[in-house]
């Protein structure tokens, strides 16, 4: 028995050793190839030197971008023009822009698009408002780090985790039973004897889901905007106080204009995150009870209900919607850098 045990152990050890050796071999081989490539590139002189350098330095990165970004994008756009139903389906035909027409005429998808736009307008506005408010109020507090940490902490929680937490908050029990949901308990204590079943009440459930997103994003907004507010020189604030601006007036006429670029960046960043919202809607209601959004429906079309081409069309719409925001964001950042 002992011998068998030893044999087993030695064979495990042998496997581990061979795996380790394989890894070392692979990494070594990779480094060796790189060294050879660099050596050859380094030796290259004359007319070919520049082209070789470009290929050697740019090639690997370009290859990965191509593999991970460009090819999937082209495939998705291509798929969105076909009548493909299953992933990997053969004999598909091009049907022009029919999938896009469908997306904008199908009542359910129309609802989804409108709902996504609502998310896009409400969540960034609320998140920035809350973040800015906390940043301003907390700034004058003695133990500012405590409320700041409380507000920032949700930023570190995954969307799924946050949704699970909030689904407990929104939990519904008949009014006669002991309440397990925080929200129901609170409103009942405040005198609302018969609260609704929060998560299946339309359209309230969509707004309750937005609250989760605001909860996560407000901390991010607070940190960035708080830093920007701190960055305004004291002299300017003092000067404005001497000029008679205080409180709301000071905020509106001096502080807000001076952090404008940061504000734009925060709003667009939260917008981009919101436009891609999937996890919250998926976790809470799986898009049922009139809560579906673009990203969730796209996922369902692609992987659940076998309408790959329709899902691809939604993906392209989502992509086109995000692009101007990203462009604007980059442009603002670049202009900011020029000022400095």
């Amino acid at each position: 028995m002992t011998t068998a045990y030893v044999a087993l152990a030695s064979s495990t050890l042998g496997q581990a050793a061979s795996t380790l050796f394989g890894v070392v071999e692979a990494v070594g081989g990779f480094i060796a190839i790189l060294l050879i490539v660099f050596f050859v590139a380094g030796r290259a002189t004359g007319r070919l030197q520049r082209p070789i350098a470009i290929v050697v330095c740019l090639g690997p990165a370009l290859f990965l971008v191509l593999l991970g970004l460009v090819i999937p994008a082209i495939t998705t756009i291509n798929n969105s023009l076909k009548n493909q139903q299953f992933l990997g389906e053969l004999n598909t035909k091009y049907i022009g822009l029919k999938n896009y027409t469908y997306a904008f005429t199908d009542p359910y998808t129309q609802q989804t698009i409108i709902r996504t736009v609502l998310w896009l307008l409400i969540v960034p506005a609320l998140a920035v408002f809350v973040g800015l408010l906390v940043a301003l109020l907390v700034d004058r507090m003695r133990y500012a780090s405590i409320p700041k940490t409380m507000v920032f902490l949700p930023t570190a929680i995954s969307f799924v985790g946050a949704s699970v937490i909030w689904s407990y908050v929104y939990n519904y029990k008949a009014p006669s039973l002991p309440q397990t949901g925080l929200l129901s308990e609170v409103v009942m204590k405040l005198g609302w004897s018969n609260p609704p079943n929060w998560l299946i009440t339309v359209p309230l459930n969509t707004f309750l889901e937005m609250v989760i997103m605001v909860w996560i994003q407000a901390g991010f907004a607070m940190v960035i905007l708080g830093a920007a507010l701190k960055g305004i020189p004291d002299e300017i604030i003092e000067s404005a106080r001497l000029d008679g601006a205080s409180g709301i007036k000071l905020f509106r006429t001096v502080q807000i204009p001076m952090i404008r670029t940061t504000l734009v960046v925060v709003v667009t960043t939260v917008m981009i995150t919101t436009l891609k919202v999937f996890d919250i809607v998926f976790t809470i209601n799986n898009g049922n009870f009139d809560t579906d959004v673009l990203a969730r429906q796209m996922y369902a079309d692609m992987f659940v209900t076998n309408q790959v081409s329709r899902g691809s069309a939604l993906a392209v719409i989502l992509f086109l919607a995000v692009t101007p925001l990203v462009y604007y964001n980059i442009r603002t950042l670049r202009r900011e850098r020029e000022i400095r």
Binding site: E235, I236, E238, L242, D243, K249, P257, I339
Partner: protein, 377 residues
Amino acid sequence: MATVTFDKATRIYPGTERPAVDALDLHIEDGEFLVLVGPSGCGKSTSLRMLAGLEDVNAGRILIGDRDVTDVQPKDRDIAMVFQNYALYPHMTVADNMGFALKIAGMPKAEIRTRVEDAAKILDLTEYLDRKPKALSGGQRQRVAMGRAIVRNPQVFLMDEPLSNLDAKLRVQTRSQIASLTRRLGVTTVYVTHDQTEALTMGDRIAVLKDGLLQQVGTPRDMYDTPANVFVAGFIGSPAMNLGTFPVLDGMAQVGSAKIAVPRVVIDGFKPEDKNSVTLGFRPESLDVVAVETPDSLQVEVNIVEELGSDAFVYGSLLDQTGKPSQNISSGAGDAQIIVRVDPRQVPKMGSTIHVRMRPNEEHLFRAGTGERITTV
């Protein structure tokens, strides 16, 4: 227009024991240009900020005219302040910067425009009114900051080192512009600087502060001719006064290799803490180079000669009877250093020894113990 009065005004920063400004008593006349001057950390900026309402007054009062403004909001004090870094609003045009206070006060747009344009004309800013501050040079920004103060037509101008961010040449130019402008407008001005040259050239009167305590107030001439104590003596004047503490024996002070007669009043007034010594001060320009054999002359070994064209200054060591450098003298050049103004056309060589003599009645005498001035006349 109004007077400004500090009545035992005190500021103690939270968490500190020693007041940043300690019972400041100062009265500034209507239309007067008063300069607060002192080394960094002396409380001059704090005093100004107390007057502006940006710092709390922990004890005492501050009055503008007859009105007690100690607990009045900054905006209601009818003052305008020019900051060291100008504190212009970067997102507003020059015109908006200048008219901001009036806009907040709810003045009609047309009236704001005329007042801004008038101020811009005075300051030569008319063509820049639509620019943003970042498109202006340092000197222009400084003028916008001035314009912002002028437009408000306040009772008092407060200026916190407004020239320290300008280059040397522009500083001299702007210095005279500000001085003449405030006098033409006749507005009471309190001006803070650490530069004693600015203080001497601009102020009607100068107030010297040190460690939160007022040392002396007076006209530039007072400060130069009769400094109230050793600190003021060493602070006002460029290069600074030579100061040294010397033992007095038989009515004579031993200064280097020379014996200098000390007036009777000084010896009669000796207190135990003076230890029979007197602090003697003499300005570089109160020394004359004399022939080697002159009695009572001081021997100075030349270390460095600084030529300024119109003047030349010798930085040297005062030698005692044995020919060794004396340690108990200091000047603007540091300890054990003495500065002598010499004829720029007859500059001594480095390393040589010159003989100098004090001009009669140009020495300053201070108590060795307290550093206070001893009046001999």
